[in-house]
């Protein structure tokens, strides 16, 4: 997929797109983003008490780069409101500046252009060494050959990007150096990256190129997911006399984590009945298959009927966590 992009940081500077170069800079500075999907869901250990409020990033590599908000609660704010984030002096924002600078969608107000002059770089470094937070500056860029740039900024990029809020982008040779067009190009590349991610997310999109087709698939997928939810809630309503009954029911049927799993005799009925219903409702094959697939782990999680009857209801609250963990542990396998 996008694996090659991250790895070739300093090697292939010639054909890197604007966006890739931005990401390369960030990657150089913070190698943790190399791991795929590193920032997909906010790492709960990093922010306040396990709240996963980090904005979703795209799958595959470099996705945190696209979205910009990996783990910080302040990040989404940054991307959403360019006007308010810049001067806010938010502590969290500054702490994660390196991660967030690429994520901003301040197309109108900011130009991201690379620092090519060495004097500028040196002055930046001096400013950085002073330790004061940088104010935002615009820097105009003249078109230059890529090779010079790559050799210059490989070592200085890290320092330079530590405290700045801008990612500086180099215009490719022969392309317009107008600030607006560069920003426009960055934006277009971001959109295409996101479309690629959506391709991974939405099943069956590998063959489709072009925005219209992709949008069609996305729309279909969202619609099918929403219909599934409608269908599943109807199914739950049918089974349970009261809305919260289904959860109590789950509490009653305890799942023992450590005991060997026995196959419940009824799963075949579950499989066929479930798949059958899904097919009848006119859902796509993907849903049926995934539904089938999801039911499979469940039969391992259920014990046979006899031990269930002797479980104590009073133990339900304490066993709940282990139940849930087992449930999703088996699902995650």
């Amino acid at each position: 997929m996008n694996g090659a992009i991250g790895g070739d940081l300093l090697l292939n500077c010639t054909d890197m797109s604007v966006l890739e170069r931005q990401r390369a800079h960030l990657k150089y500075f913070n190698p943790s983003f190399d791991s795929p999907l590193a920032g997909f869901f906010a790492d709960s250990s990093m922010i306040n008490g396990g709240e996963m409020d980090g904005y979703l990033a795209t799958a595959g590599l470099n996705l945190p780069m696209i979205y910009g908000e990996t783990t910080v609660e302040g990040d989404p704010r940054m991307s959403i409101s360019p006007e308010t984030t810049l001067g806010t002096g938010n502590f969290k924002k500054r702490k994660f500046d390196t991660e967030t600078k690429d994520r901003n969608e301040k197309k109108k107000k900011m130009n991201r252009e690379e620092v090519t002059e060495e004097e500028e770089e040196k002055s930046k470094i001096t400013e950085l060494n002073n330790g004061s937070p940088k104010s935002i500056k615009k820097m105009k860029n003249k078109a230059k050959k890529e090779e010079n740039n790559c050799s210059n900024d490989s070592s200085k990029v890290t320092k330079e990007l530590e405290k700045t809020d801008y990612i500086h982008v180099r215009a490719r040779r022969g392309q317009a150096t107008d600030s607006h067009s560069i920003a426009e190009r960055v934006r277009r590349e971001k959109i295409s990256e996101r479309m690629k991610f959506l391709q991974d997310l939405v099943p069956g999109c590998d063959k489709i190129t072009g925005k219209a087709g992709m949008l069609d698939e996305i729309i279909n997928y969202v619609q099918s997911l929403q219909r599934q939810i409608e269908f599943l809630s109807m199914k739950l309503a049918v089974v349970n006399p009261r809305p919260d009954f289904d959860m109590d029911d789950i509490f009653d049927k305890e799942v023992i984590v450590s005991t060997p799993m026995t196959v419940v005799p009824s799963p075949e009925m579950v499989h066929s009945g479930y798949s059958h219903e899904m097919v009848n409702s006119g859902y796509s094959n993907e849903m049926v298959n995934s539904g089938y697939h999801h039911v499979n782990p469940m039969q391992q999680a259920e014990t046979s009927s006899d031990p269930l009857s002797c479980f104590n209801n009073g133990q339900a609250p304490s066993m709940w966590d282990s139940y849930v963990q087992n449930l999703y542990g088996s699902l995650g396998v």
Partner: protein, 173 residues
């Protein structure tokens, strides 16, 4: 769907959080509505609680989660409950940006225009998003959480089916 194991783990964590919140919303909803209900009303209650729970699980700065909460809040007859859920979610949002309407100079091609509008109607809160770029981001996020919601509900439904059969067997013995 996810090729990375770490991702899968976080995805499972999302599902766990969702199911816990769902239990809460189900109980909250159950205490506020009168019984008995017919199947359709039960379905609506379950759907409502599920949507509220998934939006509360996200409860970040996404447009769709906030729109879903406010949309679901209007549906419940019990205003205090809706306000409670909204308050919980709102506490985490703090000073999120209100300037969602960002007027773009982007000229949409006619082919994608209709589809973009359709997508806007699907994603909760999509109507207020003018920026197509941002709309796609929201859609991405929404799809993942939607998927988590579907997975959990499907699992619960499967459990219910299985345990329902077991319960019947026991009763029939």
């Amino acid at each position: 769907m996810f090729y990375d194991e770490a991702m899968m783990n976080t995805y499972n964590m999302v599902k766990q959080r969702f199911i816990k919140k769902w239990i809460n919303t189900l109980h909250m909803l159950d205490s506020s509505i009168e019984h008995p209900l017919n199947v359709t009303e039960r379905k609506n209650a379950i759907r409502l609680s599920s949507d509220l729970a998934i939006a509360a699980t996200r409860s970040g700065s996404t447009v769709w989660s906030r729109a879903l909460i406010s949309r679901s809040g209007n549906k419940t007859t019990n205003k205090p409950m809706a306000r409670r859920i909204l308050k919980k979610a709102r506490n985490r949002m703090k000073n999120r940006c209100n300037t969602l309407r960002r007027n773009g100079n982007f000229t949409a091609k006619s082919g994608t225009r209709k589809r973009t509008d359709l997508l806007k109607s699907l994603v909760p809160g999509g109507e207020v998003i003018d920026d197509k770029d941002y709309l796609i981001r929201e859609t991405l996020d929404y799809i993942v959480y939607l998927r988590a919601q579907v997975d959990v509900m499907r699992t619960v439904a499967a459990i219910d089916l299985v345990t329902g059969n077991l319960t019947n067997d026991r009763r029939n013995k």
